[in-house]
Amino acid sequence: MQTIQRLTLYTFTLLFMLTGHCQSKMVAIKGGTYIPLYGRDSLKVTISDFEMDVYPVTNKAFLEFVLKYPKWQRSQVKKLFADGNYLIDWDSDTKLNQSQSLDAPVTNISWFAAKDYCECQGKRLATIDEWEYVAMANKTMPDARQLESYNKYILGWYEKPKTFNNAIGSTFKNYWNVYDLHGLVWEWTLDFNSVLVSGESRKDVDKDNNLFCGSAAVGATDLMNYAAFMRYAIRGSLKAKYAMKNLGFRCVKDIVE
C-alpha cells in the first residue's frame, strides 16, 4: 500500500516537474477569418485551428533553456543572431538581475533565440495574423476591435512605463483564456519582417514601388485602429537580431490531425 502510494507520489511529481519545465500551458484556438490591419489586398485572412501558450515565456523558463543550450548564453551567442542588448540586464550568463522576477516575461532576447526556444519544444512562433487574431479578443468577445473600451485599455498601456517587470498573468484573461497579449510586453512573431513600413510614416500610406516590390498592399485597412498601428510600427522597426527591454515572446503549436 505504502509503496503504491509512494510510487504514485513520485510519478506525479515527476510528471509535474516535466510538464512544469518543458511544456508550458497551452490552449486551443479555434480558427476563423478576419481582416487584419495590414492584410492581403484588404481581403480576409483565414486562420487554421492551433494551440497557443497561455502566458508569455518567463525568465525562469528561459533560464532553464540557456542552461540546457549554452550556445544561447549571453557570452556565447553569435553576433549574427543577437545584438549587444541580448540579455543585457542579467547579472551573468546564467543569473538574473536582482530586480528581475522569475515569473516576469523574459525580454532582451532576439528573434533567433525566441525561434530556437520554440523549436526546441516542438512549437514555433506565431505568425502576425495568428497573433493578432487571438489578440483582438477582450474578456468576452473574440473580436473587440470596434469597442472603445478595448482600444482605450491598450492605448493606456502604451503609456504605462516599465510593465516588463510584472509577473505573467497580471493582465486580463481574454476570450480564448490567453493572458497578457496586451499590457505586459510586445511579443516576437514568426514573420514580423513582413511589415513593410519604412518608418517614414507619411510615406507609408503611399505606394513606394522603389523600396518595396508590390507595395500596393502597404495601405492599412483601418486608419482609426491606432492600437494596432503601434504594434505594426514596433514590428516594422525591428531587426531579427535586436533585443529590447519591452519585447518578449510566446510559442504556438500547429494542431496535427
Binding site: 495590414y38 492581403r40 489586398d41 553569435k78 553576433k79 549574427l80 543572431f81 528573434w111 533567433f112 525561434k115 514568426l190 514573420d191 519582417n193 513582413s194 511589415v195 513593410l196 514601388n209 522603389n210 523600396l211 518595396f212 516590390c213 508590390g214 507595395s215 498592399a217 502597404v218 516594422g236 531587426k239 531579427a240 537580431k241
Partner: protein, 241 residues
C-alpha cells in the same frame, strides 16, 4: 646688429601670420590616429590625417581601436551568414549549405520568379553590376538569387528562369529553401517580405555584398540605384583576397 635683429624678428612674426592660412589641414600627428571615410568609399583605406574623402567629400572619421573579428574553430566569424546551417537546393538540383559558398565574394538578392513588378528590375540591377566586373575577377565572385517563394520556385523552375534571363553561367546560383529557412535568411539580411496573394509577394529590394568569410559588408536598397558603391565594395573585397 640691432636693426638686423629687429628685421629678423619682424620676419618671424610675419611668417607666423601666414601659417594661419593653412590652419586646419596640417595637424601635428603625435598620436597615431587613423582616419577612414565613414561610407568606406575607398573600402578599408585609412589615412593618417583628417581631411575629406576624395570620393564622396565627407569628413574622414577617426577610427577607434580596430577589433579583430573573432574566428571560431571553423574559421567562420561570429557575424558570418555561414553560421546558418539550413540546407538549400540549387537550380542544378544540388543540395548545399551556405557554408559551401565560402571562399568567394557573394552578391545576394531575394526574388521570386513569378514577380511582375520589381523583380525584373532587381534582376537587371544584378546584371548591371555583373557586367561592370572585369572578366578576370569573375572567378572570385558568385551572384546568388534566393527565392522567397520556395513552394513555387522549384529547382526546375529556377533553372528555367535562369535560362530566360541569360543568367545560366557558373557565376549565377539560384537557391530554393524552405519557408522557415527563407524567413531566417531574410532576417539576417534585414529583408522584409509578405505574401499578398497566391502569386505575389511584397518585399524590400536589397542587394547585399558578403566577403569570402560570409560577413555582410555592404547593402544597396532600392531599384535602379546608382551601383557605384556596390561595385566599389565588390572591387575592394576581390582585391583584398
Amino acid at each position: 646688429m640691432k636693426t638686423l635683429k629687429s628685421i629678423l624678428s619682424l620676419f618671424i612674426v610675419a611668417l607666423s601670420f601666414t601659417s594661419c592660412h593653412f590652419s586646419d589641414s596640417k595637424k601635428s600627428n603625435n598620436d597615431l590616429v587613423l582616419y577612414q571615410c565613414p561610407m568606406k568609399c575607398e573600402g578599408d583605406k585609412t589615412f593618417d590625417h583628417a581631411g575629406n574623402c576624395s570620393v564622396c567629400k565627407m569628413d574622414l572619421k577617426a577610427l577607434a581601436e580596430t577589433s579583430l573579428t573573432e574566428l571560431n574553430h571553423n574559421g567562420i566569424s561570429d557575424e558570418s551568414i555561414f553560421n546558418l546551417t539550413s540546407t538549400w537546393h540549387t537550380e542544378e538540383n544540388e543540395i548545399i549549405q551556405l557554408e559551401d559558398l565560402k571562399g568567394k565574394t557573394l552578391v545576394m538578392v531575394m526574388i521570386y520568379t513569378t514577380c511582375k513588378a520589381a523583380c525584373p528590375r532587381l534582376v537587371a540591377d544584378m546584371r548591371n553590376i555583373e557586367a561592370k566586373i572585369p572578366k578576370e575577377n569573375m572567378k572570385d565572385l558568385r551572384f546568388i538569387l534566393v527565392s522567397i517563394d520556395p513552394e513555387t520556385d522549384t529547382p526546375d523552375r529556377l533553372k528555367a528562369f535562369a535560362k530566360e534571363n541569360f543568367m545560366d553561367g557558373k557565376q549565377w546560383t539560384f537557391l530554393q529553401g524552405t519557408q522557415s529557412s527563407v524567413r531566417e535568411f531574410a532576417n539576417v539580411l534585414a529583408v522584409k517580405y509578405k505574401q499578398i496573394s497566391p502569386m505575389d509577394f511584397s518585399h524590400s529590394n536589397i542587394i547585399s555584398v558578403f566577403n569570402s568569410g560570409g560577413e555582410l559588408i555592404h547593402q544597396q536598397e532600392g531599384l535602379g540605384v546608382d551601383n557605384k558603391e556596390t561595385l566599389q565594395a565588390i572591387h575592394d573585397l576581390i582585391n583584398k583576397n
